[in-house]
Symmetry: C2
Subunit: 330 residues, 2 copies
């Protein structure tokens, strides 16, 4: 597996230099690994901070901007950010109305964000946290107690970010963030393993005729190995897993997410199947995203995330957003 | 190489069904393979039509919408659309002000668009054509006389689409489209071959320690094989090839494009190098795109496209656009 990098130990810093060069509307600190809006905190607005291991781009740095995050803290590849990053980011985005931490449920992320929140509180900075744990594939796993957090992070950040932009107080922004997570479920399938720059070898072995059902975004094992099958059958497995956990119905927001190495033409093939299966179950795809949003380096595969919408969530999803990876409405 | 598809012969139709499900603002005909704006032609506006083989998504269907294309005609994978598609699309988007065909320089595309234009003219529909031939890698190649057309198609469609939206006449829209092409140059490098669904095997052999310099977007040979190297060195090769052909200077629009199988974190690593090399040459990255825009199925690699901006081109680049793959400003 070849990688378009300079060196394994400089990948995150080098990528952040690229983000800085491409997005002057962001303020990027490649050394301390913080991505901020260049416009700075807005007085009276709740600040939104997220972060996690690198290798999932555009998550989270690609979602910093108007109507979404105020800051992202990227860790090393597949490694949690450290508390100092989170503290610095939280302080930088604090506009006097407190800060919401959006944390995917991985043990390292949970601990480091928690420690950062406690240290912020000691300095008088009010912090609320929302845990994202939408992945129905497995309960407890490598790196996680309980469910893993994956695609719903995008939905939580978008919807909570829109409410924060309207000037809602911290408790309200945290409430809607938790509601989005509670109404969202995900399931992913890997067609190939990913290769971290440091290891240089695939994180696991997957035969030419096999897929991993319920894959995690760091290559953690899923529910089972299965025989490679057509898009229709693979998508059915994912949608059924989601539907079994929280029956799909009504208007739904759907993300058909690529894992990083699967081309867009295949993601659209899969999305056609998702839309058909949801319609069969009486749900309507009211809003959707198709593309690479929560990746796992060069892994081939996809995940499906479904959120059961409400009127409020639809309105906030539709609100203007201006980030590198999501932009509309202004 | 596993593919997330149902069957090799239904990939394009299935993907178009997915595009239809994801983008209600488009009118997609999966059988006849035409992607249109659902809003229909606007009286007095020049219609923009492009197309080409599938496998390069989001090109061209992902660029249909306000401020860019009015229609796209996708052929089979790596195969030109047929004249009937182009005629039907041209007729559908004609708002009384004529139609511009944006054609990448591949022999099949050129012939089929030309035939379609002649047949449209016989029916009294005025058509102008612009040929995109920005790839400096090789002169003449498999499928092409002269230079191949690649990344500049995105720039041409965006800028000409903006001018058409303003109500400019056909001759003016064609003039600015040709100007964008004349000011743009591209060079691509493959780290891996791509695999077409029909073949099921890589289109060429590339060793673990090799890259293909000047790769075409269908896996056509480039200038040379070379040893795998770091991002800095590979990017230098691409930027030097572009600069040798048309010296970079002043304000430039730059696309660091992924070939489909290279993750975003690596594209940002490469973009940091592009920005540095352009600055060394006295050029300023005034506008940029980093991501998968003109892909080659699952190929790993990247291309760099540089356009020397003018005040007019910058203004039209910044104009509002609302398509699946590019959107801003409204």
């Amino acid at each position: 597996m070849k990688k378009l990098i300079n060196a394994a130990d400089s990948v995150v810093t080098d990528a952040l230099r690229g983000i800085a060069a491409a997005h002057p509307e962001l303020r990027v600190d490649p050394e301390n690994r913080i991505v901020l809006r260049a416009s700075g905190p807005r007085p009276g607005k709740v600040g939104l901070v997220s972060g996690g291991g690198s290798g999932h781009e555009p998550l989270h740095g690609g979602f910093v901007g108007y109507g979404m995050l105020d800051a992202a803290c990227p860790g090393e590849v597949f490694t949690s950010p450290v508390p100092d990053q989170v503290i610095e980011a939280s302080t930088a985005v604090h506009g006097g109305a407190g800060v919401l931490h959006v944390v995917k449920n991985y043990t390292g992320d949970v601990l480091n964000f928690q420690l950062a929140a406690e240290l912020c509180a000691e300095e008088g900075l009010e912090v609320a946290s929302v845990l994202v744990d939408d992945d129905v594939a497995v309960r407890d796993s490598l790196h996680t107690a309980g469910r893993r957090g994956t695609g719903a992070a995008v939905f939580v950040e978008k919807v909570a970010g829109a409410l924060a932009e309207e000037g809602a107080p911290l408790a309200e922004v945290a409430r809607v963030a938790r509601e989005v997570n509670a109404r969202s479920r995900s399931f992913g399938i890997a067609l190939s393993a990913c290769t971290t720059p440091a290891a240089g070898e695939p994180t696991f072995e997957l035969g030419e005729a096999e897929v991993e059902l319920g894959i995690g975004i760091h290559g953690e094992p899923g529910r089972a190995r299965s025989a490679m099958a057509g898009a229709r059958e693979l998508v059915r497995t994912a949608v059924e897993a989601v539907d079994e956990d929280l029956p799909v119905s009504g208007d739904v927001l759907v993300m058909l997410n690529g894992m990083g190495g699967t081309p867009l033409i295949e993601l659209y093939v899969a999305f056609a199947e998702v839309a058909g299966l949801l319609a069969d179950r009486g749900a309507r795809v009211a809003r959707s995203l198709v593309g690479n949003y929560v990746t796992s380096l060069d892994m081939q595969g996809f995940s499906v995330t479904v959120c059961r919408l409400t009127g409020e969530l639809t309105r906030l999803w539709d609100a203007p957003v201006q980030t590198p990876a999501l932009r509309w409405g202004r």
